[in-house]
Symmetry: D2
Subunit: 353 residues, 4 copies
């Protein structure tokens, strides 16, 4: 890269915004030129307006940046990372796309859009070409590309590796999700200490987990995605873990593997598509397979591959479907800010910026 | 009851032993006459030898009782509650049964014995008559009766209510289990803070959950149990909860209900068999159905019905099998000591002591 | 009591309000006739408007009560328990006192009022007679009486027992405070998991702990309180505990005890004044002294004496002052709702209603 | 450094041993040539014998190293880092010193030895010259040098900065200590969830905190240390935090500062002695002063300066002594393994190896 690409973060003061800022510190391609947040923060220095909640310190480069309002006038950047709430994102993201920015969004507002790529580069990098259709349809010079829900993320990566070889037909997924997935302040300490909450987002999370993987595992044909023909049943829980979503998964295949060793081999040898393989945020490895009886565990394994790898363990026969296993993924890195950045890198790499 | 029945607790100093002692305080039928523990505790006063871990205080009646060794000489009681570890239980329980005691055991050693009742009185009270066969086979004046694994407990009660009406065929069960299930000191704080462990008992727990309900939901024919023809797939997790096991459950039926309302009705109206309905430890209600979006929760609901009720919530359609729901059961009350005591009450009530 | 005294709860839907409702269930003297809350809850059934956060279930008696606004028109009761926020309390409590209700308040707004009793009946029951002065000054038929801050509560009770015999001169107090002290939702789970917060209420808590005990340990002379001449240094921390405030305390005396045994004896034999000794909420015992090396602990000891007792342990020599020890008190029972109810009982008993 | 200095770790499989291994990965001066542990681990590969509990992964360099017994025959290294339990350390460390190794020990066995340096290089680097006396006395070619208890560590560094300017006379210290300080498995999850334990090491920790700083703040005169004339009162608590000990501290001075600003300035400008200032493990900064109302917090601040810095906040007037503040220090990095390594670097730098 000759000169860095100017990028902005919308929703910069929230917990996902903070993760964007942290991951963009010293990014080889991108340079943060604007931080936008709600009107009550605009005008203040970032360090004053923000209650920093990450355990790595606030990067120096943002401390004195003055927060601007989230408008296309105030924020001018080739790439705009959106950590906005869904309702706000719904209004603002198209404005930025129209104004010429590539919006890389973590919000769920446009994930189901027919011409909006829902992307995990290691899974469906080619879906990014849907932005051409989007630009044509909307007459935008910019675009909107999205990353999936944090719980769908690791699950879909695991399923993709298996689907290529064995053909996934049915999936049971029960999640144990981290607190940071609810944002800050999110879950009250009085609700989760000595407790679990057997529902996330009042059922909405389960709908996402049952639908989003079908789009990402679907095929791009004639500028549209054919949803994968897979049945999902999801149950989502909140547990007392800071970061890292765990998903207990059972899968039925059309061509079941003959043994577990083949499954382990298939998972651990899975590679991202060529165009997504050597980007700055490409997970190394895509999938880390653990063979211990009690792994993956969120606290010990969530930072595998700098938080971008998907960690899978306890692969074994399932007595109803074919196999079962446990998937772990860092929900605010791979499952949120890191995912959006990886998407942006793919966009640049494919010459679509 | 004219005069109380003398009972003993084996393994009295451990966490399940403590729960026995707590639940037997002021029991209307039983009087604790002996507390047995390992040789290193024998000879000491109970209050000296025990690190009490319950949040209700140690009952006065045990404080000055002197612990005896777990031998048939030292322990003479009509009913012997066993909170022994499995290996120890395997040796000792038959000795007590031979010596004439009714051993009501929480250990897993004999749960699979062909002539050993595996009992949840609200589910399969009639299986208790298997002790006659056992006495004949072994030439014992006493007997061994067992309660299931704590995770199987709530699950089986829920399934029984449904099986009677809709015929259960397949069950997916993913547990989020409490720390107290591992005994004391059990799980290291360093292993569970900001973490979950995606395996309980190194796979052994899952085997139990996949087998035990089949025995309890099976039929007693000609002095033997025909295992229920149900397929189970279990995944068990440990979470940072003190008491109360949660199980996310999906079920397929032979005669599926037409709507969720019917399922709720079936669950909430479930009654224990007549002989198990009005015993001192009978759960009131057997099943408590919660209709809020985020219940049951272990901290808030585990003491429903004094910890003896099974609490079920989030009953809804499953997109692969027929319905799914969440079951909560107090693992050291209904799922351990309380269950053994309830079994003993049934034994007395059926005139089998 | 011939017929029950009608009482009301202001701020009934919050966490302290819930504790009032729970403790007033089946109270021998009082009957809840009105539940008041903010305008957005008024008009709804209590069970609909309230997110119940206690682990004991919502009492049946409140479920169908319709919440009223916190006005003197809507709430007519001899005794009004106030669980209002301080700013709201400041406005509303005098209105109720003027309208003839005895306001028993947990808010801090009037604790420093010169004619307002700040009461722990087992410490300074006689201060209640200050209400006569208050009524005269304000020309009220009702009155306002207050209970101290939850951290001051246990500390002051411990100090009172010692002060009577040894004369307290200086006190170092470092607290480890429970989450419920911050109300609901209060502390974010992301702030306290794997963490402590070394400040409560941004310094305000420390001011209260350094002042309130001086008023309660002071003397009532000529209708005013002479503050006790004791120096306090307080440091307050928030820790990951649901209920129960722990205070590490070091004390200097004017007549130091010759040995620890005398201190233990003094503490455990402490009695409430006669008029406060046999009320329905009188703690039994006032002080529970623990001699184990590692007690009191919040989870194990907070419910001593139904949560009304003060629990003290680790009494030992201090190498700078005279002695040091650990005090534990249930912050939402003895330190909040239970304290206000105990105050109300004293008011009735003294014929001041 | 031309060629790396060979070092060994005794007690390599435990949690402090793991921290040594992690911190020695890519150390610029040292190369780990031997890992020693108990007989039951000896002969196994490190990766097989060890339950790794850190959240950073096990470094590759140790995975295939074969564990040797902790004998002077099996372990030959210029520097031997000791993570041994105290009783074992007492026997073994002198053997290694005699055999010519410089033992840098985290055990408490020899901290009080008259000719044993108890070292925090940023505090009392010059005390290291006591090893000359030690070698003479014992006729050893090696030596034993020690680092203090983890709770004394941050406290002593804070006090040193203040002592130089204001003269420390009295210190109250109340700790909130992390779980990792108890080793692994250490504290049972059932003891600490929703709880605190108001004692660490059954009083032993408090003795250490009241004595060790006096040695380190003492003066080296004629080959012996004159203990500093400071009075300490310590109370130690265990809380639900993984890493990072917090100490609430009040201090009296002989020349009290006129204002808080002077104290802040004194703390933040404190420098290590020249010989300890630019070693590989020198903390940068020695002291990080936080001015927010609610810092330091263990989860957010423990990794300041790669876990080697001491973090101080809430500096304010004390109403009994002169000032009070909060000190945070990473207990297994600065307070254990990192401290021993820093000591070893000082030894090398001073030409005493």
């Amino acid at each position: 890269m000759s000169s860095p690409i100017p990028v902005a973060v919308l929703g910069a003061t929230g917990s996902v915004g903070q993760r964007f800022i942290s991951l963009l510190d010293n990014h080889p391609w991108f340079k943060v030129v604007a931080l936008a947040a709600s009107d009550k923060s605009a005008g203040q220095k970032y360090s004053q307006a923000t209650r920093w909640v990450l355990d790595s310190p606030m990067p120096d480069y943002v401390k004195d940046m003055v927060i601007v309002p989230a408008t296309t006038e105030a924020v001018q950047a080739k790439i705009v990372f959106s950590a906005l709430h869904n309702e706000v994102a719904k209004d603002l993201e198209p404005q930025f796309a129209k104004a010429g920015s590539a919006v890389c969004s973590n919000a769920s507002s446009y994930r189901r859009g027919e011409d909006v790529p829902l992307l995990l580069p290691e899974v469906n990098a080619n879906h990014i070409h849907l932005v051409k259709e989007q630009r044509k349809n909307k007459n935008w010079s910019g675009c909107i590309i999205t990353n999936p829900n944090c719980t769908s993320t690791g699950l879909t990566i695991a399923l993709k590796a298996l689907d290529d070889t064995f053909g996934v037909k049915k999936v049971f997924a029960v999640s144990l999700q981290a607190l940071s997935g609810a944002g800050y302040p999110g879950i009250s300490s009085m609700d989760i200490m000595d407790n679990i909450i057997p529902n996330v987002g009042n059922g909405g999370e389960e709908e996402k987990v049952e639908w989003e993987p079908r789009k990402m595992l679907g095929k791009l044909n004639n500028n549209q995605i054919d949803l994968a023909d897979i049945k999902f049943s999801a149950h989502t829980n909140r547990v007392a873990v800071l970061d890292g979503h765990t998903v207990c998964t059972s899968v039925e295949f059309s061509s079941p593997p003959s043994d577990i060793q083949t499954v382990l081999q298939t998972l651990s040898s899975y590679q991202a598509p060529a165009e997504a393989k050597e980007l700055p945020s490409s997970p190394q490895p895509v999938i880390s397979v653990r063979e211990e009886a009690d792994r993956p565990q969120p606290r010990l394994d969530r930072l595998t591959g700098k938080g971008m790898s998907t960690v899978i363990g306890r692969v074994r026969k399932d007595s109803i479907l074919d196999i079962k296993f446990v998937v772990l993924s860092h929900n605010t890195i791979r499952g949120a800010a890191g995912g959006s950045i990886y998407n942006a890198e793919l966009l640049v790499n494919e010459g679509l910026l």
